[in-house]
Amino acid sequence: MKIWLLALAALPLAAQQTTPAAQETPAAPVASTPETTITGSVDLGYRFNSVGGSLDAFRSVVDTGSGVRLLGLDLTIESATRKWFDRIDVRGSGWGGDPYTTAHVDAARHDWYHFNFDYRDVAYFNFLPSFADPTIGNGVFLDQQSFDSHRRMMDFDLELLPGHWIVPYLAYSRDSGWGRGVTDFVNGINSYPVEDRPRDSTNNYRGGVRLEMKKFHVTLEQGGTTFKDDQQVFTSNQNFGNNTAPLLGEQLDVTNLAQAYGVRGNSIYSKALLTANPTPWLDLFGEFLYSRPDTNVNYSQYNVGQFVDLTALLFYTSELDLLSGVAKEPHTTANLGFEMRPVRRLRVIESWMTDRLHTASSAALTQQILTPAMTTLLNSFTSLLVMNYNREQVDVLFDLTSRITLRGGYRYEWGNGLTDGALLSGSPTETGRLKRQVGLGGVSYRALQKLSFSVDFEGSGGDRGYFRTSLQDYQKARIQARYQLRQSLVFSAAFSVLSNQNTNPAVNYSFLSRDNSATVTWTPNNSKRVTLTGEYTRATLRSDLDYIVPQDFTTGKSFYRDNVHEASTLVNLLIPGFGANGPKLSVGGSLLRSSGSRPTDFYQPTARFSAPPYKHMTWYGEWRYYGFAEPFYLYEGFRAQLATIGVRFTR
């Protein structure tokens, strides 16, 4: 409106220009129409790929290919009129065949709405014979649990009236996966690697309202999910499986298989969140979360070949299985807490949490051996899984000085888990109990912004855990420090340790992990010419645990060792003599060397050169190398060189 008024006001001035006298007068100011501005950048490039060694391992680890790519898109649209939106941000990367394709749109109009959309398509390839290949000794390189699949995630979020007292919102998200792979069909004493077509999707709808008042806030949300899994497993080729030894003179095989999973699920869930500060010295929070997912299953299996039922010592050639099942899992989680500041230097934080789920399921399985014709067997199953977890924690924080804060606390965790007993254990159920009393402590020191460090410790005498490897008698500590020597030079370091013991003589578990890392960042002259970041991490892990070797019932020891050195660096250099917008060179990369149970070397050096021939355009070239080697699995090593040339347009 103001623009039109200005334009109207300028009309008489414009009319005066027709007179000769007016030609001598200075030109009248013309009302400029505000324009919507678009700023940002677009990266287009071509990548060349050269891989030596195992292409499957390369695809399992890196998986980038050759070709033209939209490597990056980052645009901001700012509206001049602000009629429909104030600003829209659009971002994207990896379009054109990269394994990680992303898109993001963020749009907002102040006081009216905030909308965002996120999209990701991640190619998920995994073919590593070292993972699951029982036939590798026979020279067959086949990961029997491999896949070449995609996972696609989409999220839409719309928030109305942001910044107001009452804020309604709606959201939808979808997660889906599909592809192909190899899995095993298990029958009797044999397993057969066969083709797999996984396909699943989950839709999640939710909506709610936030009430943001001066003294409290409440969020109420109601949502629901639908799920489906239509995995299909099949083969039409003769397959002798992993156990090729004849049984009583019979060679087991499968010649035809069709397994179809028809799984449908849905869930209704509710969420209530609360924060409040009823008095200036007390903050409260609480949440109540409830979900009730259900699953309905219709499974069919038809297999033809030579099979054996060991319980009846019966050989048969075709079978049809049908299963119908249902599972329900009401799940309740609640959390309450407060922060109280009884005096200036003291804060008391108390929180309580409970998490309870109860899965009950049943299924009816019809098994019919078709050839030779046998009586149909009908089996029914029930199963349950119960978890009741509770946690109570109190922390006391005391500001010893304005720079030093001491922390102390206590956490008590208790609960129980109930599940089906192992098949031959003689008990229908197994119960695990959790009881853990944990002492907490720490100190934070913050000397302005130059130096800060914090120390955290927690330890537990441990009593019971759900599993043999659960945290029992454990100590955990972490120290972090940061020192800014100069405005442009910052050092930081972190150290963490976790020690866990389960001294039960039947378990004899000992676990110790340490992580030490140091980082330096150097940005002289406000990063105008040179920047350098360097990082080194040393991580060690030791785990010893007893188990009984099933074939001779002797005690074996499961050892795991990991001793990792990781380093990464990046140096950015503005080539001298070309000004602030001149050519730039970046050199760096990372290396990993680990020894222990699975020694691995992984090198990723990289270099990038960019030069702007014009103000809004930059040419660049990038080289990246991947070197991957595992001494125990030499057949999975690879060396890959990726070269990318591209152009970036900026505005």
């Binding site: 990701r120 969020t219 979360l289 699953t295 098949l423 378990v507 990792v564």
Partner: protein, 336 residues
């Protein structure tokens, strides 16, 4: 009445550098005398400790308006125009209209007169709890902060301004680009970021994910500030919905202790981000055939039997047969 007034001035003690609260907000104060007996005891202790020297002039400062700040702090003022907090300049709801600078720094009339840094509240130099209170006077009653006070960041005195740059651009205030988010987190969590240099990891360095896809830096009901999905499931199922269940036959650790029982979510040198080099060791650590009953050890999954010959390659990878290791809808032994 007089007695009440006297108490309200001397109790609870205010931070020396904290200004009077702006209209419509509540001051950050310690407890009320009627709250707890322990509060009185602690008050005696803490008032004995050296306190910050109050300003010589006891006359309270008043609001000077953002334009007064602009005169000296032109660069910050300009940068602030691109900051989402610029809307505070028009915020009648909380009484900050034309006082955006002072909404965080407190009334600045004394500072305008003296230009002394001692006469203005500088959140960067305050104890973390006090500095954060400035932010929380507006942001506390929002869903983001439901779990804040029990989060690791709050306990470790990680201030809001550690991650959020108040005076700068939108992106620096709240990083939204994945690379920027990851860089922000990696600044402190160096060892975790180093794990992403391992061969098998979630694709953070590639820009397909960011730390906040899985963690809520403001806190969560779950340990390690793991985000929730579908009300009370861990955020893992946002992308791995097929592992969520419920299954007709669940695998207990997935529900009881979560994905990290078997996987290293940040990265591993082991395929599938497993915690051990080979699958059988992951499984055998629980399914160890130990000859104690479950009741004696009070743990799940350790009881016999297992009759597999581990010397045979066929049984050296459990998932070759137990293909539905996350849970099965057909087989109790997770075979199909």
């Amino acid at each position: 009445m007089r007695a009440d007034n006297r108490i309200s001035r001397s109790w609870p003690p205010r931070f020396a550098s904290a200004p009077p609260p702006p209209p419509g907000t509540r001051p950050f104060r310690a407890g009320h005398p009627r709250a707890l007996v322990i509060a009185a005891a602690m008050y005696l202790v803490t008032t004995a400790a050296p306190a910050q020297t109050p300003p010589a002039d006891s006359k309270p400062a008043t609001y000077a308006g953002s334009e007064a700040c602009q005169v000296c702090h032109e660069d910050i003022y300009k940068a602030f125009q691109k900051n989402p907090h610029e809307v505070v300049e028009k915020d009648k709801r909380r009484g900050f209209e034309t006082r955006a600078c002072e909404s965080c720094h407190g009334p600045g009339s004394k500072h305008v007169e003296s230009t002394s840094a001692a006469d203005i509240r500088n959140p960067a130099k305050l104890p973390v709890a006090e500095a954060d209170h400035g932010c929380l006077s507006c942001h506390l009653n929002q869903p983001t902060h439901v779990g804040r006070i029990q989060s690791g960041h709050a306990r470790n005195q990680v201030s809001c301004v550690t991650c959020h740059a108040m005076h700068k651009t939108d992106e620096e205030l709240v990083p939204r680009r994945r690379a920027a988010i990851n860089a922000e987190c990696a600044g402190c969590h160096t060892a975790e970021w180093a794990s992403f240099q391992r061969p098998y990891k979630h694709k953070l360095p590639e820009g397909a994910m960011s730390c906040v896809d899985c963690h809520n830096p403001h806190g969560s009901v779950f340990p390690h500030s793991i985000r929730t999905a579908s009300a009370n499931e861990p955020a893992c199922i946002n992308c791995h919905g097929d592992k969520s269940g419920p299954f007709v036959f669940d695998h207990a650790p997935v529900k009881l202790e979560g994905c990290t029982t078997c996987h290293e979510p940040h990265g591993s040198a082991n395929p599938r981000m497993l915690t051990r080099a080979e699958v059988r060791f992951v499984c055998l650590e629980c399914h160890a055939n130990t000859p104690v009953t479950a009741a004696a050890s009070r743990t799940l999954g350790g009881v016999p039997p297992s009759f597999h010959n581990l010397l045979s390659p066929q049984f050296q990878n459990c998932t070759v047969c137990h293909v539905k290791v996350h849970g099965s809808n057909v087989s109790q032994e997770l075979l199909r």
